[in-house]
């Protein structure tokens, strides 16, 4: 079965390509990328006015299966991802049980094969039970299919464990993804510490809680040669540290979430629990620093930190609500509207942030590119389409989005996963 994508604006950062091309897909792989391909037997997909990019990869997704299937299942998370323009998602290990062993990894992959319409790449725990004490069986999980390790949801508190993890994971060429937060400094906080936390009487999580651990991780990565990937970077000090680390040749990469480039802590004045996530929405100057770091390349990728919670779990006092928001169906539109339409970055950079760079960080050689022979994972974008976000229509099982009702310009327009058309407008 062959698919011929006609007349799209093909954007592939791995080849510095941004031009009108046709793409021929055969046997689930990219077969040709040329102007005006003719193939009378192929199924034709018209992509006039659309951007055709290597499939988008979300480096940071929380699927709640196993354990909290009422919030999300592997199948529902995959459907949500496809609707949002992603062809691959990397699921964090903080399920119940924690993905800290090959048997859990294999369970996730088996479920993904049964009902998952996008590629699922599990991320294994750094430590057993993500408890922070003893390394999990990182090599075995790698062989089982894990692409990275993380204790996300929690930091790797113990610096010695972080050192060992970076050293050990480097044998398998896997990054250690760290949720940087000194929990002593965070001190039970529920929002960013600043004027608004003072005004609202809510406990603050200071920027330094993140920044001290980002600095620590960069120091340990520099000393060990390991690859540390900073999850959901959110403060001016953190991006400055990463920028400096990169300049010195340290193997440090980082991701930012759409909410951290779109919202500030001012939003919390509503006490809406959809504004509660960790790291918290930061101050105006932090958001400006994030924008600058997206523009200058300090930030490598955009990841959703998709964290589904039920209505009941979120319909409580702000202090008692769990952290996290859903993000798979809003990420691409927010990035187009807030980063590309504003002139901050080009479409080529956007595709690098969503596809080329995540693939490179995870060492996925046949993804994040439209080179001949690569996996036929394609994301279509319609940069002109105006949308209104309606959380009630998310494919996710959860609705906890701060963006409900937002009007944005730019939208995903379809995905092809492994040569199979999942949807296309």
């Amino acid at each position: 079965m062959r698919i011929l994508i006609k007349n799209g604006r093909v954007v592939d950062p791995s080849q510095e390509l941004d031009d009108t091309r046709d793409i021929l897909i055969a046997d689930g792989k990219i077969a040709r990328v040329e102007p005006a391909i003719v193939d009378s037997e192929a199924r034709v997909v018209q992509a006039v006015g659309q951007i055709v990019a290597p499939g988008f990869i979300d480096l940071h997704t929380h699927l709640r299966e196993p354990g909290r299937e009422d919030k999300e299942t592997i199948a529902s998370g995959c459907e949500d991802a496809a609707a949002g323009g992603f062809t691959s998602i990397c699921c964090m290990p903080n399920t119940n049980p924690v993905n800290d062993s090959r048997s859990v990894t294999e369970f996730i992959l088996a479920r993904a094969r049964q009902g998952g319409i996008v590629n699922v790449f599990p991320i294994g725990a750094v430590t057993k039970g993500s408890a922070g004490d003893h390394l999990a069986e990182i090599g075995d999980m790698h062989e089982g299919g894990c692409v990275a390790i993380s204790d996300d949801g929690k930091p790797v508190k113990n610096a010695l464990i972080m050192r060992r993890a970076l050293e050990y994971a480097s044998m398998f060429s896997m990054p250690v993804i760290d949720h940087c937060e000194d929990s002593n400094l965070a001190d039970g906080g529920v929002m960013h510490e600043g004027y608004y936390s003072t005004l609202l009487g809510l406990r603050g999580i200071p920027a330094m809680a993140e920044e001290t651990m980002v600095q620590r991780d960069i120091i340990i990565a520099a000393a060990t040669g390991g690859h540390v990937h900073i999850a959901h970077i959110s403060t001016a000090g953190s991006v400055a540290a990463v920028r400096d680390g990169k300049k010195r040749g340290v193997r440090v990469t980082c991701e930012v979430t759409p909410h951290h480039f779109s919202l500030t802590d001012k939003e919390v004045v509503s006490y809406e629990t959809a504004m509660k996530m960790n790291p918290p929405l930061r101050g105006e100057s932090d958001v400006q620093a994030i924008h600058a770091a997206i523009k200058d390349g300090t930030i490598d990728c955009i990841a959703t930190d998709h964290a589904p919670h039920t209505y009941d779990d979120k319909n409580v006092e702000f202090d008692y609500a769990p952290f996290g928001i859903v993000g798979l169906e809003t990420a691409v539109s927010l990035a187009l509207d807030r980063l590309v339409n504003t002139g901050l970055i080009s479409v080529l950079r956007l595709v690098a942030l969503f596809s080329t760079h995540p693939a490179r960080i995870l060492g996925l050689k046949n993804k994040g590119t439209l080179r001949i022979g690569a996996d036929a994972d394609i994301t279509f974008l319609n940069p002109q389409k105006k949308i209104a976000i309606d959380a009630e229509r998310f494919r996710s099982k959860s609705r906890n989005s701060p963006f409900h009702g937002w009007k944005l310009k730019g939208s995903p327009a379809g995905v092809i996963v492994g040569g199979k058309i999942i949807w296309h407008d």
Partner: protein, 312 residues
């Protein structure tokens, strides 16, 4: 004139005229509590539910007496004896009480924003009786009432507020109210208990109690909680008292006719010397007395200001 909202969630939402309306109305209600028969028919047939998720003596009693003196029926629910113990959520508790058609919920909760949350799901008038470290609007109103009664025009006053600024809902409501009425406000506390951004509220911030108190017309002391010490906000109650306790000597820095206020309950010998708490410059019991009148005014005005019966 009437209040714009049917809720009192915080001083933040009131304008100067509304604050003055509440204070003026309270003045006319104060006399009721001095009568032999302490009751007016103003809120007859109305139901006031006090829903307290935190312990309280004075605020709860004050609200209940205010409601009873207006002839409202009162029901008090405290979490230690309610379905909250069975794990019922705040939303479910309120929805169930709501089904019994109360006219007011007076809410005290340890979480900031709890009163606002209830106002979004209730048809009743919500009165915030203290939400976490956020606001305690009736406390600020009774403080203002007391200041006005003792010192006159609030816009001409220099007010010093001392102690645990970080965790205090009393200080937030007081700052908002005093700034709206144009007072000159100075706050002081140890650096660990001064949260960021206070200066953006239009107050002067210092860690030197002497600087804050100097030339003050009003010295307001805040309660310090023992558990703050356990989290290393300061080394000991002894050292806290050394730097931030109100003593006769420190009080000499204030104007000679300055008054001493405290929202209570007092830690005698910590934030305030034993003798000062009871001296004639202390208006602590006036605050408590005025609380009833202010809460009567609030309940009355939230009902639209002109229910069955007149204010006096």
């Amino acid at each position: 004139m009437q209040l714009k909202s049917r809720h009192l969630l915080g001083i933040e939402h009131l304008d100067k005229a509304e604050i003055e309306l509440i204070l003026d109305t309270a003045a006319s209600f104060k006399e009721v509590s001095t009568r032999e028969i302490k009751k007016v028919p103003t809120l007859r047939g109305k139901t006031v539910v006090t829903l307290f998720y935190e312990v309280s003596t004075r605020t709860r009693t004050s609200f209940e007496l205010a409601a009873k003196r207006l002839s409202a029926d009162t029901v008090s629910i405290s979490t230690s004896t309610s379905s909250v113990q069975k794990g019922e959520t705040l939303v479910d508790t309120v929805r169930n009480l709501e089904a019994m058609k109360p006219d007011y919920f007076v809410v005290r909760h340890s979480c900031s924003g709890a009163a606002l949350m209830i106002s979004r799901i209730s048809q009743a008038s919500i009165v915030n009786a203290g939400d976490g470290s956020h606001e305690h609007p009736t406390q600020a109103l009774l403080d203002a009432f007391t200041m006005r009664e003792r010192k006159g025009d609030i816009s001409k006053l220099r007010v010093a507020i001392i102690g645990d600024i970080r965790h205090s809902r009393v200080v937030r409501s007081n700052i908002l109210l005093l700034r709206k009425l144009g007072a000159d406000v100075h706050i002081a506390g140890p650096a660990t208990l001064l949260p960021p951004g206070m200066d953006r509220l239009g107050v002067t911030v210092t860690s030197d109690i002497g600087v804050a108190i100097r030339n003050a017309d009003v010295v307001m002391m805040l309660r310090i909680q023992q558990e703050r010490m356990d989290k290393s906000f300061f080394p000991s109650l002894r050292e806290f008292a050394m730097y931030y306790g109100l003593t006769r000597e420190r009080m000499r820095l204030a104007k000679s006719d300055a008054i001493i206020m405290h929202p209570g309950p007092i830690n005698r010998g910590v934030e305030i010397d034993h003798e000062l708490a009871d001296c004639d410059r202390s208006v602590i019991l006036d605050q408590t007395e005025n609380g009833v009148a202010v809460r009567m005014a609030v309940l009355y005005l939230l009902a639209g200001g002109n229910p069955a019966g007149e204010a006096s």
